[in-house]
């Protein structure tokens, strides 16, 4: 009796310590990403004038206007200081030009929309009571909208990036998978050397290959085109896919194929009906790596594209241009990360089959 209780206690202690470890790792993973996400919704004012910076973006901003002999003064509520702080011009008047400038300033700095006449209404209250406080709703996606406005080419670039990724998966998985199968299943002369030399391909920095590739692609009529770029990306991806698919196929016993062949199918049939379904999760993982590798690649694309940049190039270049505008930078980064994360989510199902779904 005593022993059973002891064992149960031990078991629950083991399970809870497992979950504590898992929760800790999950926290480490989420923690920095949370701030990337959080910053992408913050206004310039929140990012640069509040210290310590807010950890979560606010949905609204509070303003205060008062007046003295010079004219009106605008203030904004600074959450970190817990008080109103001077905001915008030293003073302003009711002149139409002043109000328009103010509208632009509030929009740019606080991501809030208010019309000049709206400001005028608030000024009426100031005239009566000496001061007014009002709250405006923040335009939550303002950074994203601004980012796509600044980079006008973005939608077309997204399409091109998807095309590049698609071609890269197609090329690298078919060519790489075939070779991976050969390395896993056959013994032949020069196997070791070949498998190793395939890796050498990744050892030469890709940036440097990109430069002579400009000329080669131009001769093929593929310069500055998605297909041309995917030819370059496939170089690295093929070698990785060979190694991954080789270990995927190696994990599937040959005896399965041999059994199928005894029952009357040939090697191709055995591969098609037995090995391929079993290998599918691993191949899906391969496709995912290829997608991510291609979607996120910047530096070769910078060298190899001119008028038809990929999305990462657009993001990279706009980021380099807006040094310091960290809220815009993060918005662009999140926009670029989203497709890769969604793709991961979709492909996850297949990767999950790796354990549980398929018993090898």
């Amino acid at each position: 009796m005593h022993r059973i209780i002891k064992r149960k206690l031990l078991r629950s202690a083991r399970i809870s310590s497992l979950y504590i470890i898992v929760a800790g790792i999950g926290f480490i993973i989420i923690f920095p990403m949370f701030f990337l996400f959080s910053f992408s919704f913050m206004s310039d004012y929140e990012t640069y004038s509040e210290w310590p910076k807010p950890l979560v973006p606010s949905f609204r901003a509070e303003f205060m206007i008062d007046k003295d002999a010079e004219g009106y003064h605008l203030h904004i509520y600074n959450k970190a200081d817990g008080a109103f702080a001077a905001f915008g011009p030293l003073f302003f008047t009711r002149a139409g030009e002043d109000l328009e400038n103010l509208q632009k300033f509030i929009k740019r700095q606080a991501n809030c929309a208010i019309t000049p006449s709206g400001i005028g209404e608030q000024l009426d209250v100031v005239d009566k009571e000496g001061r007014v406080e009002f709250t405006l709703k923040k335009e939550f996606l303002a950074n994203y909208i601004l980012f796509f406005q600044v980079t006008r080419d973005a939608p077309a670039a997204v399409m091109r990036s998807l095309m590049v990724a698609g071609f890269t998966i197609l090329i690298s998985l078919s060519i790489g998978g075939m070779a991976g199968y050969a390395f896993a299943r056959y013994y032949f002369k020069g196997k070791n050397l070949l498998k190793l030399s395939v890796l050498f391909v990744r050892m030469f920095p890709a940036v440097t290959i990109a430069i002579p590739m400009i000329i080669i692609l131009a001769r093929m009529g593929l310069a500055d085109q998605p297909l041309g770029l995917s030819f370059v990306y496939s170089v690295g991806q093929i070698s990785m896919n060979i190694w991954i698919t080789a270990s995927v196929f190696m994990a599937i016993p040959v005896s399965f194929e041999e059994a199928a062949m005894i029952f009357g199918t040939n090697r191709v049939g055995a591969f098609w009906h037995i090995t391929l379904p079993l290998a599918l999760p691993g191949l899906a993982a391969c496709a995912m790596y290829s997608f991510i590798g291609s979607w996120n690649e910047v530096i070769s694309a910078v060298v190899l594209t001119q008028f038809n940049p990929t999305f990462p190039v657009v993001v990279y270049k706009s980021l380099v241009g807006t040094q310091g505008q960290i809220n815009l930078v993060t918005a662009g980064s999140v926009a670029q990360a989203l497709p890769a994360i969604i793709f991961t989510l979709i492909i996850r199902k297949y990767i999950l089959q790796m354990w549980g779904g398929v018993r090898v």
């Binding site: 032949f188 030469f204 440097t208 996120n296 960290i326």
Partner: protein
């Protein structure tokens, strides 16, 4: 009759022998077109001066540059520690997830996100965090762990401190990548062989050492080789955090020469540097394969 049979068998044998070569042929053709061509071109150019005269000048220029030796040391440091740490943590994580607890599928998805993040996003994330007025210090101040005067200046550390920072950041992103490869391998082994180990009285540690790790060897080799190759080529995060030339590593120097400085002269320097990098990576990979005994294993077969 008998000879005819022999003939068909022979034909079948030779055909069988041809199959692997046929399967590999596309790769070789592909690499001939899209790799050997440009690489040969780059190697040749690296031995030529701007005027097109054969010279060792580009290499001499590199070997005379003190930054090159710093980059070499930094890269070696980075590769050794990041690959070791990442492998140990990823292996632990893979063993953990392989126990298949409730919510493990969600955890796997979570673990895969950092891998999917673009380098630019990772750079933005950490540079906004590690800046003196970044979110790291904001969190510390919001929870009253430090006050304004006690802000931690993350990015002004010395060379070694900065290298550790880079190793941590790289580990954060790359561990899931290694973990998934290892996990796939663990799945392939299946529970039966491990259970057999337990039945014969093995402890957890013994089963891990005597059964799991040896059976996982091909997967481990794959993961390690891929990591060694890409760890040597870390550069974007370093440039986004520290800018060019502050914490020099080999590939950052290549990009600096090829893309940033970009003139004909520096392009050639970059090409020469690439040749050196390729040689070093190859040497490191072969050294690993030798030490881990992967060559002998294949030869036994």
């Amino acid at each position: 009759m008998a000879s005819l049979n022999l003939q068909t068998i022979l034909d079948k044998e030779t055909r069988k022998k041809m199959i692997p070569y046929m399967l590999i042929a596309p790769v070789i053709i592909y690499y001939f077109l899209f790799w050997i061509f440009p690489v040969l071109n780059a190697i040749i150019e690296s031995f030529k001066s701007i005027e097109g005269v054969w010279t060792l000048g580009n290499y001499i220029h590199i070997f005379k540059d003190p930054v090159f030796y710093r980059a070499l040391l930094n890269t070696a440091f980075l590769v050794f520690f990041s690959v070791t740490i990442e492998f140990i943590l990823a292996f632990g994580l893979a063993l953990l997830i392989n126990t298949k607890f409730k919510g493990s599928s969600f955890f796997l998805f979570l673990a895969m996100i950092p891998m999917a993040l673009p380098a630019v996003a990772v750079g933005a994330m950490w540079s906004s965090g590690l800046a003196t007025r970044g979110w790291m210090n904001s969190v510390l101040m919001t929870f009253k762990i430090v006050d304004d005067a006690g802000k931690i200046i993350f990015l002004a550390g010395g060379n070694i401190a900065s290298m550790w920072l880079i190793i941590l950041i790289d580990a954060w992103q790359v561990i899931p990548f290694v973990m998934i490869i290892l996990l796939a391998g663990l799945q392939g082994i299946g529970a039966e062989s491990r259970e057999a180990g337990y039945i014969f009285g093995g402890t957890k540690f013994q089963v891990l050492r005597k059964i799991t790790i040896p059976m996982l060897k091909p997967t481990i080799t794959t993961a390690m080789i891929l990591r060694i190759i890409s760890a040597i080529q870390i550069w974007l995060i370093i440039v986004m955090l520290f800018g060019f030339n502050r914490i020099p590593v080999l590939l950052e120097q290549v990009v600096l020469n090829v893309d940033e400085l970009g003139s004909d002269f520096f392009e050639r320097i970059g090409m020469a540097l690439s040749v050196i990098v390729a040689l070093i990576v190859s040497a490191a990979a072969i050294l690993y394969l030798k030490v881990s005994g992967s060559f002998e294993k294949e030869a036994e077969k």
